[in-house]
Symmetry: C2
Subunit: 195 residues, 2 copies
């Protein structure tokens, strides 16, 4: 599938970056459109030449996030040894969600998705792709005997994502608890999947 033929207006990108910064600093609802335009260095009215409204900005951000996830999806779907694929994913997705910007934006989008159907749509689509790819890897591993096949692959996929993302979120608070989670999470999951 080719990318959007129309290149994105540079101003639109500036607005997006400003919005992301604001959302990270103050949260979506605590951020006003004036905060965004101030950070972007543009006028109030001009924002509405590029976005239909405030929510449209968050939708766009969620879509970009989805594109970033597709890298994981592709890698999970190749033909390598499922165990290698899984180890790679756990390691790299853990690092991805450990970046404060990703963790914070993720939870911001998640909570907004709880009430906004538009956001929920994008968010759900992104997540379903990831779960499907991960579940596919688990299924393959189950068939070839590398993983236990006593568990529902989709369910395990959900749990793995929850665990990884939860760890990313927890890193945001200063609590020293769970400092060793990063090193424990991989072996723990592999142990659980042992046939």
């Amino acid at each position: 599938m080719p990318n959007n033929v129309k290149p994105i207006h540079p101003r639109k990108i500036e607005i997006l970056e400003a919005a992301v910064t604001c959302f990270l600093e103050k949260g979506y609802h605590q951020t006003g459109v004036r905060d965004i335009v101030a950070k972007a260095g543009i006028s109030l009215g001009n924002l509405y030449n590029h976005f239909k409204g405030k929510e449209a900005i968050l939708v766009f951000i969620a879509e970009i996030e989805g594109q970033e996830l597709s890298g994981f999806v592709n890698r999970l779907s190749d033909n390598a040894d499922p165990r290698i694929r899984l180890e790679w994913f756990v390691q790299n997705y853990a690092e991805y969600v450990a970046l404060p910007e990703n963790a914070l934006l993720g939870v911001e989008i998640l909570t907004e998705a709880l009430r906004s159907p538009t956001i929920a749509d994008v968010f759900g689509r992104n997540r379903d792709q990831l779960i499907a790819a991960l579940a596919g890897c688990l299924t393959k591993g189950g068939e070839s005997g590398v993983f236990s096949s006593q568990f529902n692959p989709s369910a395990v996929a959900c749990m793995i994502l929850d665990t990884l993302e939860g760890q990313g979120l927890r890193n945001l608070s200063l609590s020293s608890r769970g400092k060793h989670v990063k090193d424990t999470i991989g072996p723990f999951i592999l142990n659980a999947l042992k046939p």
Copy 2:
């Protein structure tokens, strides 16, 4: 430890219940104090006779949530077989966080804790208690050989909580994915902890 000597004013409870309802329906930031007083059937000014402000209401709610969690903490800390304790916890805590009110309120408090030190304080205290109790159970099980002792108990405790709470959150969206998580989660964790 005796409960608060001063009984809580009935009006205060009404306000709390109204606030919880509103926060569940619209989210914390989307809820105005006027929504709360309307739902509670009181006047705008009267709310400020019982709470210092809007945030104080959320703090109070978070503290109540903490009291509810102490039930799990106590049960996790008794002297029963660690494996029984863990199984009980996984089952019952999963049910607890699967209740939409608990899942929604939890994420609402969590996200607010990311930016408000006051909320972060209460939230962190609650969570640390739970993690400590769960980790204690895991340690005990490790010593008696029921559980593998290759993992850091606190880290595993964090992961278990993440997984259970993540499952509760996911139930909120209609996505049919992860429907079997509830039945998979217990065996999965026990399998991972097998010595």
